[in-house]
């Protein structure tokens, strides 16, 4: 496998509380990797450490390495890292006062793109990639927050795609969505993996089973098992994984 990202000996702290312990795993290029585990196991911390968002929290720090194409992201400018490694959050968070168009164009403008034609092209392409174009092409001037929850989440995906990242991190992107909107996002993830490397944190094990090629199971900040998703759900190697995925914790 070609590793797009490699997490190596990664530990993370919030003040004196250790949230991740010595995690090592490879993220295969142009596939979907799911991270599962109970609340507080460190899933979100892990992906936040993968685009240098963890350190934004006061007193938070990391040890170890996160390599993107072999280069440690902690030795690079965080802004350039986040351009290459985008993040989608649990709650869709479009810029509330901006139009749909401006939401998608925001990152591009921030990067200095001014040419209207170029912006138009990139906005359209991103909205198409996010499977939202058909629903909004006649209302690009409307506010982003006028959209439904599922549409808002796809708008955020379009916004992330606009700056042409290579890796997309998703932190429970469907947890606030109904089954239809969830299915749309899952279909979108299926298409995105042709061009992007996707890492998704999810509470929904069936979602991990449906969308991911590899799955990592985290527990109390440790990586318990990292395996092909099919293997992990059919014959997990670790007893702890077995107990978690069959819902027999205790």
């Amino acid at each position: 496998m070609t590793a797009k990202m490699r997490v190596e000996g990664l530990s993370a702290w919030y003040g004196s509380k250790r949230a991740l312990e010595d995690i090592t795993m490879d993220i295969e290029e142009k596939t979907v990797t799911a991270i599962i585990g109970p609340s507080g196991c460190g899933k979100s911390t892990l992906i936040r450490a993968m685009n240098r968002m963890h350190e934004i929290v006061p007193k938070a720090r990391v040890e170890g390495q996160v390599l993107l194409d072999g280069e440690d992201i902690y030795e690079r400018d965080p802004v350039s890292v986040r351009r290459k490694v985008g993040m989608i959050f649990q709650r869709a968070n479009p810029f509330p006062t901006m139009s749909i168009y401006d939401n998608v164009a925001a990152g591009l403008r921030l990067n200095g793109m001014r040419d209207r034609k170029e912006l138009d092209g990139r906005v359209m392409r991103s909205l198409k990639q996010a499977a939202l174009w058909d629903e909004v092409e006649d209302s690009l001037g409307k506010g982003g927050s006028s959209l439904s929850g599922g549409q808002q989440q796809r708008l955020c995906i379009a916004r992330a795609l606009a700056v042409e990242p290579e890796v997309i991190l998703m932190d429970e992107p469907c947890s606030a969505l109904d089954p239809i909107a969830t299915a749309k996002i899952e279909d979108l993830i299926f298409d995105l993996k042709k061009d992007y490397t996707v890492v998704i944190v999810t509470h929904n094990m069936q979602q991990a089973a449906r969308v991911a090629y590899h799955t990592a199971f985290l527990y109390l900040g440790k990586l318990i098992e990292f395996n092909r998703t099919r293997e992990l759900f059919e014959r997990p190697r670790e007893e702890l994984t077995e107990k978690y995925i069959t819902g027999r914790f205790g």
Partner: protein, 236 residues
């Protein structure tokens, strides 16, 4: 673990499935025992009991299939639970087939119309064949009931013994028919019984292999008997 969960509805469904499977397995084992018994004692009453058992097996198999579909549809089972359900679905077919062969043997028993089948005790090794086969089914069934993969890992080797005995009995029957020690009609029936027993043993092998998968997640590779014999010679 901080959270405590048991998934009671799933656990209850799985327990019911296991119960039904154990009944199905025991009924099909009983069906062969009775079928062989009806033949060796030429007992029409026992033969008819086998027909009833076969009907019960069929009905129970249908119920189990619907148990399994419900569990999959409602609980999205994974890992050990998923393997228990898919294995049950596969094994029911084997157990049902075993019941059908038992019924076929019972039908042959009836064809002797109360006459003691000639030569069955002294000249033909069918009782030995039946013992071996029943023993294989029993081991496979016990392995399933006790979730014990180890006891059936060598089930293929026992099956080799059954296959060899099948060939022997066939030769034996042909020779006795040729020499005039055995009426042709009876001999022809024995050849069928012999064949049914051999097929039952094959189903026991299937069950054994699936129990190994259910318990460990390993799929046993299919090795041809000839290759197994060669391997045995190499490492005695």
């Amino acid at each position: 673990m901080p959270e405590k969960a048991e998934r009671k509805a799933l656990a209850q469904g799985l327990a019911r499935l296991k119960e039904n499977m154990v009944t199905l397995a025991e009924l099909s084992e009983l069906a062969i025992r009775k079928a062989v018994d009806s033949l060796s004692r030429s007992d029409a009453e026992v033969a008819r009991e086998v027909f009833t058992l076969d009907q019960e097996l069929y009905a129970l198999q249908e119920e189990i299939e619907s148990n399994c579909v419900d569990l999959i549809a409602l609980h999205a089972p994974v890992a050990r639970d998923l393997r228990a359900i898919t294995t049950s679905l596969k094994i029911t077919t084997d157990l049902d087939r075993i019941g059908r062969y038992a019924k076929d043997i019972a039908e042959i028993a009836l064809q002797f119309r109360g006459q003691t089948p000639p030569g069955l005790k002294d000249i033909v090794k069918i009782p030995r064949m039946a013992d071996l086969t029943i023993d294989m089914v029993d081991r496979a069934v016990q392995a399933f009931v006790n979730r014990d993969a180890e006891s059936v890992r060598n089930v293929m080797e026992v099956d080799d013994a059954v296959d060899n005995l099948h060939d022997e009995v066939f030769q034996e029957v042909v020779e006795h028919m040729r020499d005039g020690n055995l009426p042709i009609e009876a001999g022809a029936r024995y050849i069928l019984v012999n064949r049914h027993l051999e097929r039952i043993a094959d189903h026991a092998v299937n069950i054994g292999e699936r129990v190994v998968y259910m318990v460990t997640g390993d799929r046993l590779p299919r090795v041809r008997a000839a290759d197994r014999a060669k391997a045995k010679k190499r490492s005695p």
